[in-house]
């Protein structure tokens, strides 16, 4: 197919430069980093990156008036979107990070703190192998048990387990990826997961 219009949503948090570099490496030319309404409306696919705290990320989306626009694009127009790390957590109903904060509520569930045995350090930082559902369009190109780079203290726990498409083992089953229809989210950083991450981006765009 012809190249999709990819828009990385710029909301003042998140490492948009790294995500953009990884996508550019794959040869996609129609790529913009933007918070402009018209640019987002014309996109074929959206990426919601993120690093940092949930509340700040949510406030930044609010202050740029992006929430009604994103709801319309994602829920009404069924535009595919990939959330990364905090970008994925924002898709939850609420987060328990530093108080209770409301999220976008695209996938029912709650963002909870990793409560692990003392020998498991939190944040969960480093390369961990991910077990995924084969039918999920994110992982079509990845080897079984591929490693991805994680860096987080909180994790998204969806109400319905059918929305969990991948998990990894770090004392508990940490949810690594979620999907509900056109809404995709990954807890790890595909833009920092070398070939495994690049393959994930490729599968995601190929499935459009």
């Amino acid at each position: 197919m012809k190249q999709p219009n990819i828009v990385i949503i710029d909301y003042g948090v998140g490492n948009t430069y790294s995500v953009g570099n990884a996508i550019k490496f794959l040869g996609y030319k129609k790529l913009e980093v933007s918070d402009d309404f018209r640019v987002i409306e014309e996109a074929d696919v959206l990426i919601l990156p993120g690093v940092g705290a949930f509340e700040e990320a949510m406030n930044n989306l609010k202050s740029r008036n992006l929430i009604p626009l994103l709801n319309e694009q994602v829920l009404a127009n069924n535009k595919p979107i990939l959330g990364i790390c905090v970008g994925m957590q924002l898709m939850a109903t609420e987060s328990m990070e530093k108080g209770v904060h409301k999220g976008l509520n695209w996938i029912g569930g709650r963002v909870e703190k990793l409560e692990l045995k003392p020998e498991y350090a939190v944040p969960h930082v480093g390369w961990n192998n991910v077990n995924y559902k084969e039918e999920c369009s994110l992982f079509r190109k990845n080897e079984k048990g591929a490693n991805f780079y994680f860096d987080h203290s909180y994790f998204f726990n969806p109400e319905s387990k059918e929305h969990v498409v991948a998990h990894c083992d770090y004392d508990i089953n940490v949810i690594a990826a979620v999907q509900k229809d056109n809404v995709f989210g990954v807890q790890f950083h595909p833009e920092k997961s070398q070939t495994s991450g690049l393959k994930l981006f490729r599968s995601f765009f190929n499935a459009l």
């Binding site: 490492n15 790294s18 490496f25 690093v51 961990n128």
Partner: protein
């Protein structure tokens, strides 16, 4: 399972990657973007980019250099050198850095460590400690003043963790560029006191040194600089050797899993018969 990490330290001086020997001799290696691109394609787990001119000249971090270098590297990147304010950190994150490393600032302005941790999270803050062996035990070494300070790296690491450091990089000045292997005694002394991940640096000569430090100490990662720069596929061949005893990530297209290594971890030539047969095997290019 969380993997042990193999990291590469890239030392930059005046915009050029250098081989550092005992912190006083520097041999040129090449341009940072090329070094990072190769390390990345050889399957490194993490890159630490240290600009040793930025602190010395009292100048700002070299944002353009970081931006260019990070563009072709798709692994976590830690940047150090000349970071003196929260604004410096913010700008570096926009240039592709995931973590920042403090060395001089940790000694002179420890407040910056706690400030950085509260703004960007502990996972973003790495404190890099240079240590020198003296008759009175291990001491922290101040490379700007070229003198040892009156406290041990172990004690310093504990106080840095308390301030909010999420990771400690311990570098042996004596072993720097010496190819004598990691200083296990020094590394153990630091690991004992802290709960955050420790990265070992200084002295790696070959894959066996990695096996020793990852197997005999509590470090979560081991780093090398010089020895990764001078051999083709240095990272994947090193990992292919380590993966025989320890859990590390080996996912490069050329994974050297079928190869044998000598006792120093050097790649051995395959048997003539095997090489002959390989002539007729089509090796597919990796498709991403």
């Amino acid at each position: 399972m969380l993997k042990k990490r193999i990291a590469a330290t890239v030392v930059v001086r005046d915009g050029i990657v250098v081989q550092s020997i005992n912190f006083n001799r520097y041999l040129p290696v090449g341009k940072p973007p090329i070094a990072l691109e190769f390390l990345n394609s050889w399957g490194i787990d993490e890159i630490v980019l240290l600009d040793i001119t930025a602190s010395k000249g009292g100048c700002m971090p070299d944002y353009d250099m970081v931006k260019q270098a990070s563009a072709k590297s798709y692994v976590p990147l830690t940047v150090g050198g000349g970071i003196r304010s929260i604004e410096h950190i913010r700008e570096l994150m926009h240039c592709g850095a995931d973590k920042v490393s403090f060395n001089q600032a940790a000694i002179q302005n420890p407040e910056l460590i706690s400030k950085a941790a509260s703004v960007f999270g502990n996972q973003c803050v790495v404190v890099s400690i240079d240590a020198l062996h003296t008759p009175a035990g291990y001491k922290v070494y101040d490379y700007l003043e070229k003198k040892t300070l009156d406290f041990s790296p172990a004690k310093f690491a504990v106080s840095m963790e308390r301030l909010g450091a999420g990771e400690i990089l311990i570098n042996s000045v004596d072993r720097d560029g010496s190819y004598k292997g990691y200083d296990l005694e020094l590394i153990n002394s630091v690991c004992e006191g802290v709960t955050v991940p420790v990265i070992a640096a200084g002295g790696a000569k070959n894959a066996t040194d990695f096996v020793n430090v990852l197997g005999q100490t509590e470090v979560r990662a081991a780093s090398a600089a010089n020895f990764f720069h001078f051999t083709e596929h240095s990272v994947n061949t090193t990992k292919a050797h380590i993966v025989k005893t320890l859990d590390v990530r080996l996912e490069t297209h050329a994974d050297y899993n079928e190869n044998d290594f000598d006792k120093d971890g050097r790649l051995l030539k395959k048997a003539d018969k095997v090489l002959e047969d390989m002539l007729f095997i089509k090796i597919e290019k990796e498709e991403i």
